[in-house]
Point group: C2
Chain length 343, copies 2
């Protein structure tokens, strides 16, 4: 165990706390303090320890630390399909924010959100001793799972419904739909059609509510909304139905991808956008500014959602979180796919 002959070039086993202590000529406890509460150690000693840490390329073993502290510094994120733009962006932001606060994140992607699948994912993460979990739960079907979580696990939900016993952060979908619908009515359209997302998605339903509410408030006819599956394909197929109806002059589409399909259906039917039909999307994906024409849409700030979720979780882990519902305001981005109706 003597100094130079024992450094990282000759030793195969990674250095442990004791090695650092020996090299620095202090006790293990002092090394631990240097790492966890530096001010409680005299500056001179601290420097010596840090030098030894560098010399040996020492990295603390988190399993050991976790075993004794009960904390792991790992957060779990449960989500469906992180291939979609929204969840992917939220996840990305949670990870970035968490890292700045010293947390890592472990993911569990599900193919469906049911009580069973959520419980299973929670157990998987929990057996890794995560300190807390964010659940991206945009489906109706997640509610049941969210109501039966282990009571001692800090959890925050994103895009979940109401009457959930955990804090929720979500974009105000209803307000977004209202902005879109008001914008179209404000341009002079008699009424607005809606091509919504799947019925089991909460976001989709809130958007339907917002849209319908504005129409009723203005005494405009409310046509049964069409329901797609978020894919451009469904936007195209359902778009063909709307395109064939000459009374349609304005459509509010549940997301940008379906709006893309819709634009194509309208073009194929010989209806110009925005001269004949106005289209508004939702999300503001990076591509939407380059659709033909550039899409008027409702921007969701997923980054903000991720940051809020993380901070709520932090509060929750500190025990001081209330079961708030935090709404992030969406913003209407007006581009070239909307105009007054043809006369």
């Amino acid at each position: 165990m003597a100094g130079k002959s024992d450094d990282r070039s000759t030793r195969t086993r990674p250095a442990v706390l004791g090695d650092v202590a020996a090299l620095a000529g202090v006790s293990a406890m002092t090394v631990s303090r240097v790492l966890n509460a530096p001010d409680r150690v005299r500056a001179e000693t601290r420097e010596r320890v840090l030098a030894a840490v560098r010399e040996l390329d020492y990295w603390p073993n988190s399993a050991a630390r976790q075993l004794v502290t009960g904390r792991s510094g790992v957060l779990g994120v449960i989500s469906i399909d992180t291939t979609l733009y929204g969840p992917a962006s939220t996840l990305y932001c949670i990870e970035q924010t968490a890292r700045l606060s010293g947390y890592s994140v472990s993911i569990a992607s599900l193919s469906l959100l049911s009580r069973r699948s959520i419980e299973e994912a929670v157990h998987r993460l929990r057996s890794q001793s995560v300190d807390g979990v964010v659940i991206l739960a945009p489906h109706e079907s997640a509610a049941d799972g969210l109501r039966h979580l282990p009571p001692d696990l800090p959890v925050v939900a994103v895009d979940a419904g109401e009457d959930i016993p955990v804090p929720v952060v979500t974009v105000d979908q209803r307000a977004g739909a209202e902005h879109a619908t008001r914008h179209l009515l404000g341009l002079g359209h008699e009424t607005v059609r809606h091509l919504g997302g799947p019925v089991n998605w909460l976001d989709a339903n809130y958007r339907v509510d917002g849209w319908q509410g504005v129409l009723e408030e203005h005494d405009r006819p409310v046509h049964e909304p069409l329901r797609g599956d978020w894919s451009p394909r469904s936007g195209y197929e359902l778009g063909r139905q709307l395109a064939a109806d000459p009374t349609v002059t304005a459509v509010f589409v549940g997301n940008d991808q379906m709006a893309l399909g819709m634009l194509r259906a309208l073009r194929e039917a010989g209806r110009r956008v925005p001269e004949d039909v106005s289209v508004v999307g939702f999300d503001d994906v990076p591509e939407s500014a380059y659709y033909s024409p550039p899409l008027t849409t409702v921007r969701q700030d997923f980054g903000e959602v991720g940051r809020h979720a993380f901070h709520l979780l932090l509060d929750r882990m500190a025990g001081k979180g209330e079961e708030a519902r935090r709404l992030v305001e969406p913003e209407l981005v007006v581009r070239e796919s909307t105009a007054p109706p043809p006369r």
Copy 2:
């Protein structure tokens, strides 16, 4: 510590191995064996233990297990910007595949790939005792980091360059570019222009090579490729340059998003696609079939890449991996954005 009065409804502290042992009337070691090597325990005893496990809702503490075994059942994935379609899809597939084999995955998203940032991420993951790491390393600048990894950590790289001391799995970018270019030449175009990705992206450079190779092979003029940043915006801006040049009849674009911007630039310049100019993209994002017109593009099977990466890593962790370079074949998807040149 007496049976029924100590079950999960009255106890707050989660059950540990010892609780299960006490309830089942066996030693801790026997419980451990039931969990890790069931055949080494008599069936009758095993059943009694399992009943106790269920009764107490016992979940093993992974930190303790990990501390003694040195294995964690967690894999790390290092990546830049998991918001992009490619990395997001690959990550998703790795996670799905890993889960089926009992592994969890922990992520580390970087904002740039440098030797320093990679080392830092590796250490972060490693201090969580991950059993292995997949690095999504599509940048030139990652090579330096990949050459200086800790020798005892199993690593597999995705989309990395050559001369890397770890196994690499990647789509054959060069072949993809060749398919695209040959397709355009085959339609009768005199030559093909290229709008590529950023110069520090390996994929982008391999695509340039493939494109250039085919042109040279056919003795066609090779114009200096333009370089965008993958965004629709850059596709649009550089597209305007190409659109203004009447000699341009065919363009191979480095990804679908830039191709989208390009399509818009061409439309604005009054050049029809595919009658006046043919465009081929790369990636086959779900939207590309609904662009105007639907985009001919090169499909990359990210799922396949993810699965291969995981299995190579598994081999690597078992110590039997060679430093292979595994190529996944891309596929040309012909849609409506390509046609013979105008006469």
